[in-house]
Amino acid sequence: MHMADALLSPTVGGTMWAASSSAIAYCSAKVRKGLDDRKVPLMGVLGAFLFAAQMINFSIPGTGSSGHLGGGLLLTILLGPHAAFLTIASVLIVQALFFADGGLLALGCNIFNLGFFPAFVAYPCIYKKIAGERPGQARITVAAVAAAVAGLAMGAFAVVLETVSSGITSLPFSTFVVLMLPIHLAIGIVEGVVTAAVVTFVYKARPEILQGPVETRPVAGHSLRNILLAFLAAAVLTGGVVSWFASGDPDGLEWAIAKTTGKEELKGPEHGIHGMLTALQEKIAFLPDYSFKKPAEAKSEGPGAEGGAKSKGEAKKGEGSKLGTSLSGIVGGLITLVIVFLAGFLLKKRSQAA
């Protein structure tokens, strides 16, 4: 599932961008070192293929709805993890630029969620282990379904983590998990089946394509560790830098999170939705203390942050009432819009006349 800009805080978004960029750099270096100079046109063309394939729908038996191929696992089976990651990243970039799929800030998250997990976790640890050397159709299907489900589940969980730690939406963690995971399990099964269908077809027609993915080096273990280390380093660096930047800013994120902590959710079941969700939350007790409070507290204890959430909250309350009583902001906003519109209009007239 795609992550949306709207739900993402710059800190989390920036961190994931750093992670994805490091991964892209790493994979580019790996692909370049490989001996097959066929790779670059192959990656590009297969990316275009994925693009086109995603526009073809199939009907999902039993539901009456239609679906389309995600393709991450398929690409990894065909190209190997490094080249596949790059291809997936580039398809997502094109989609974000041309179709606003998720947005540009969330692109870092999407590249990581939809690329890293299928290519570097699901494929080597699950698909390859189950499929083995020369798999028959049944084996391919089982392996693909398992890998797709795992990959999507990890991606979905990552989306939840990213969203919750961003603090922009008020949806509680456990609710989110309950919403996301079952859907993605189902999607994963379908994706696995469809991937297996395509792979089986290719295997029957041109088995040599599958026998040696474009790279031959094993990925799990050593390389995975390097990736994780790079990610960790980038995350710490970015988190530190960005929170330092944000700390000087009165419109801090901490206040926003503190403002809508679990306080409201833990209130009595006054309204239907709240009550239901509160009840749900209590039922899902495996992470009972993980409510909205946690990210705020963690942030204020983190490096570079200032003060506790409380004092920030008080400072902000004053501002809130300011907003509440004065019309200046709204009037000013409207004036600004008018000015902007006029400016654009006049400029356009000028450039057309020129």
Binding site: G13, P41, A100, E264, G324, G332
Partner: protein, 270 residues
């Protein structure tokens, strides 16, 4: 996802707009990419309740539209297409965040609605920035700018190929898909098995095409390295463009200009 024909037309339209000859088009792509980046970063770094502070940022898309001679209705339509998604995401907030934030006469507006509106406005701004960047620069130029800005060559060149062959492959995909539809008599034949072989065929043809492309690359002396064609000029104009816009965005980010203007007009303290 969108229909085939619609998608290809979209690509072609945006690609064509990028060949316009305005002064904005002639600015080096790196400057434009960087400015778009600063813009997006400034916009997304606001807190969730920022609303009027975002309005001055519309100056950037307005100016780009005007100076780049881009059709406003086309872009407005494209952005409008994505508003429902942004709205759907933002709608969750009023449900959970009910504490009143603003009083407009007799109306109490909760923080949830403010943040919802903020999400929508932010979406409009960032989506416009991306689309307009493509409209005045063109995707191939963006790829090259990225490469010069430090993106690995393998990745940037592969992006170029991807873009180039989207046109070819979406056409092939359309043909296959249409052939299948014509033999489906009302949708019964769109099952997973037929999908598997349709996409499988497309995949095999694509693979063989990649082989042939590689063949022609070799035939023209390709030995593994892609060489840059023209040196790019990042001159004074580009620097001015970059610094000017960046400075503006930083100022707008740090000061709520809307409120300042409003206070001037209403006489209330800023």
């Amino acid at each position: 996802m969108a229909s085939f024909e619609g998608t290809i037309l979209d690509f072609k339209r945006l690609d064509q707009l990028a060949t316009g000859g305005t002064s904005l088009h002639r600015i080096d792509a790196r400057a434009k990419v960087l400015v778009a980046l600063v813009f997006i970063l400034s916009v997304v770094s606001f807190d969730r309740y920022a609303l009027t502070a975002l309005f001055p940022f519309f100056l950037y898309p307005a100016v780009v539209l005007a100076l780049g001679n881009l059709p406003a209705d086309y872009f407005v339509k494209k952005v409008a297409l994505f508003l429902p998604f942004a709205l759907a995401v933002g709608m969750l907030n009023p449900l959970f965040d009910r504490e009143v934030m603003v009083r407009l006469g007799p109306f109490d507006i909760s923080g949830g609605w403010v943040s919802c509106a903020s999400i929508v406005v932010r979406a409009i701004l960032t989506i416009s920035a991306a689309l307009l960047l493509v409209g005045v620069t063109g995707f191939p130029e963006i790829c090259r700018a990225l490469e010069r800005l430090g993106v690995p060559q393998t990745f940037a060149v592969q992006l170029l190929f991807l873009y180039r062959y989207i046109f070819v492959l979406t056409e092939e995909g359309t043909r296959s898909s249409r052939a299948r539809e014509l033999r489906s008599f009302g949708g019964k034949g769109l099952g997973i098995k037929s999908y598997g072989s349709l996409v499988g065929h497309l995949l095999l043809r694509t693979w063989m095409r990649a082989d042939r492309i590689h063949m022609s690359m070799l035939a023209r002396g390709f030995t593994g390295e892609f060489h840059a064609l023209q040196p790019s000029r990042f001159g004074g104009r580009e620097l001015l463009f970059l610094l000017g816009w960046s400075a503006l965005f930083i100022v707008l980010r740090l000061r709520n200009v809307s409120r300042l203007l409003g206070s001037l007009v209403t006489g209330a303290p800023p």
